[in-house]
């Protein structure tokens, strides 16, 4: 740092630089995300069916949501989803990234293959998985029966609906995590690994002592973004189970969607979104506090 750090002119220039770098993203975000967000906060204090004028209800949307059994169930299902999805997709993506970072014949080909599900629309993916996991004549239960296991009811079962959604989601997103971690792996110096190998470190040790710590910034990104997205799991549930059977796979976002566009309880849906916001924000802030202990930047 230079000795001018304290001068007013310098500070003014610095503010200009910061604004210059932030403006291209801050202005659109302000206009097209923040303003609608503030509006939705305003809407959350009203009763509104989109068709007739809004009616002020104060905090009543919030208080009724906090005691609502459906909201609690939806939250529970969402947490259940995250609990299954996040570890699986991270472990799978990490394994793939490490393997496909090796000097392997055809690795570019494999990298593209594993990325295909990421780019395929949920409508198509859902159709395939509904068939694969069809209880009566699906391939998965057929395979299970070959090894003597009676497959579960998947979509038709209140116990197995969420695991079925998790399975399909992990399958689809594994390529996304792989790509992020592959980028992270490019930052792991090969000669450091080579040196360790010369020193006799096993692949296992090299991975946990060198690769994994150096991947922590990418891991941190994956965890934060997956949690933010996981709390908002929607597309796959909407197209595969519709929240059923018996609301057993009803998630928070599905609830919000139903309330907005099917039940037209827009104020209530906005209030639920803001409760979700508080929850996700809390989780994110806790993570950003904790990251100082485990994320290693160069």
């Amino acid at each position: 740092m230079t000795t001018y750090a304290g001068s007013r002119r310098r500070r003014g220039r610095n503010a200009g630089i910061v604004l210059l770098f932030l403006a291209p993203s801050a202005i659109p975000l302000l206009l097209f995300t923040f303003i609608p967000m503030v509006t939705s906060l305003w809407v959350s204090l009203h009763s509104w069916n989109l068709l007739t004028p809004m009616r002020w209800v104060g905090l009543r949307n919030y208080s009724s949501l906090l005691t609502d059994g459906m909201t609690r169930a939806a939250l529970l299902h969402t947490l259940e989803y995250i609990g299954g999805y996040l570890p699986l997709v991270y472990a799978g993506g990490l394994g793939l990234a490490v393997v496909l970072n090796r000097r392997l014949k055809g690795r570019n080909f494999f990298r593209s293959l594993y990325f295909i599900p990421v780019v395929t629309s949920w409508v198509v993916v859902a159709l395939t998985w509904q068939w694969l996991l069809s209880p009566a004549n699906g391939l998965v239960n057929h395979w299970l029966s070959l090894i003597g296991i009676h497959g579960p009811g998947w979509w038709a079962s209140t116990t197995w609906a969420i695991p079925a959604v998790i399975l399909a989601s992990v399958w689809k997103d594994i390529g996304f995590v792989m790509v992020i971690l592959l980028v992270g792996l490019q930052g792991v110096p090969q000669d450091l690994l080579d040196a360790a190998r010369v020193d006799g470190a096993s692949a296992w040790t090299r991975f946990w002592r060198i690769t994994f710590p150096l991947l922590s910034p990418a891991t941190y990104f994956v965890v934060v973004i997956s949690l933010i997205n996981g709390f908002q799991v929607f597309d796959q549930v909407y197209v595969m189970t519709g929240g059923g059977p018996n609301n057993a796979s009803q998630t928070l976002l599905l609830d919000i969607y139903n309330q907005t566009f099917r039940y037209q309880l827009v104020g209530r849906a906005s209030a639920l979104s803001w409760l979700l916001f508080v929850l996700v924000m809390a989780v994110t802030v806790v993570q950003s506090r904790l990251q100082k202990r485990w994320v290693v930047y160069a």
């Binding site: 801050a26 939705s40 629309s121 000669d191 360790a196 060198i210 908002q232």
Partner: protein, 305 residues
């Protein structure tokens, strides 16, 4: 194979002496690898690839099947091959000028990608390298934009666009996609793993922030930029809900919107829908294959000098 010697000179290693020495102490030697293990790995990868590929192959097969033969049971070999699905997709009977629609989608996705990568990279630089007050709070505010679901933002945003007189315009489709907190975060993480020595050296040489950003930071986070470019393109390319609400006329439509209209109230012509899916997957795969070169080689070719 990328040459990793450039990275070898990176100061990153220097910051990890502890790691190296701990390895030296703890592990016995074991050098040579069995080729059989490598073969096994390729076999495992191939099995996984088949699982990954299954829906895609099925999509392609369905798209070249006759409509009636499609939905009985999913099959991977079409009974009789026909391009009727594609012909119908490109014909006028579906009521959508499909070529125009693809061009719309391409232009919007490319614009969103270029603007998104640039705006995100610049903000990422500010968060990673510049000192300013409330930096952490501002960063959390950025992340906050990801935390309110689009479903409840659509109506307020639509009303806002109406007051701007932008309903049924390309700008209205593009506007919400030109900045992304995900991109800022991803690229910030990449910049933070870069050693600061280079910037400091450049500062001493009299380089300003803009020059440091464009000539030092950008080349060195190319893998992250390429990755986010793919995601930004994809997000715009696949977006359905917002274009559905804001676009009215067929000549302004985007591909997902046009494809959604292939689903009838009671029945769906799956061969046409799947032909549309193939059409929508292809450009992203091409872009990804192209971007991948940067993901792998970016660091190596630019190097840190």
């Amino acid at each position: 194979m990328p040459d990793t010697s450039a990275i070898a000179s990176s100061p990153t290693i220097a910051s990890y002496p502890v790691v190296v020495s701990s390895i030296v102490r703890s592990v016995p030697a074991r050098r040579h690898r069995l080729p059989a293990r490598r073969v096994g790995l390729v076999i495992a990868l191939s099995v996984g690839a088949v699982l990954m590929l299954f829906p895609f192959i099925w999509t392609v097969v369905t798209s070249i099947s006759a409509n009636g033969s499609v939905l009985s049971t999913p099959r991977l070999i079409p009974s009789h091959v026909t391009l009727a699905g594609y012909r119908q997709l490109f014909s006028s009977t579906i009521g959508v000028p499909i070529i125009r629609v693809v061009i719309n989608s391409l232009v919007l996705a490319l614009a969103s990608m270029v603007l998104g990568v640039l705006s995100s990279a610049m903000a990422a630089y500010a968060f990673a390298r510049l000192q300013f007050r409330f930096k952490n709070i501002v960063f959390v505010l950025y992340l906050a934009t990801l935390m309110i679901p689009l479903q409840v933002l659509v109506v307020p945003l639509f009303i806002e666009m109406r007051t701007f007189h932008l309903v049924n315009s390309y700008i209205a489709v593009l506007a919400p996609t030109i900045a992304s907190a995900t991109g800022v975060f991803l690229i910030r993480q990449a910049i933070q793993t870069l050693p600061t020595d280079l910037d400091e050296a450049a500062t001493i040489d009299g380089a300003g922030h803009l020059r440091i950003f464009f000539s030092i930071i950008v080349p060195n986070v190319r893998p992250a930029l390429a990755t986010f470019a793919v995601f930004a393109f994809m997000a715009s390319w696949n977006n359905l809900l917002w274009p559905l609400v804001i676009i009215n006329s067929p000549d302004h439509m985007t591909l997902p919107l046009a494809l959604s209209m292939l689903h009838g109230e009671f029945s769906t012509q799956w061969n046409v829908v799947m032909a549309g899916s193939v059409l929508s997957i292809a450009p992203i795969l091409l872009l990804y294959a192209f971007a991948q070169k940067y993901v792998v080689q970016g660091m190596a070719t630019t190097g840190l000098k």
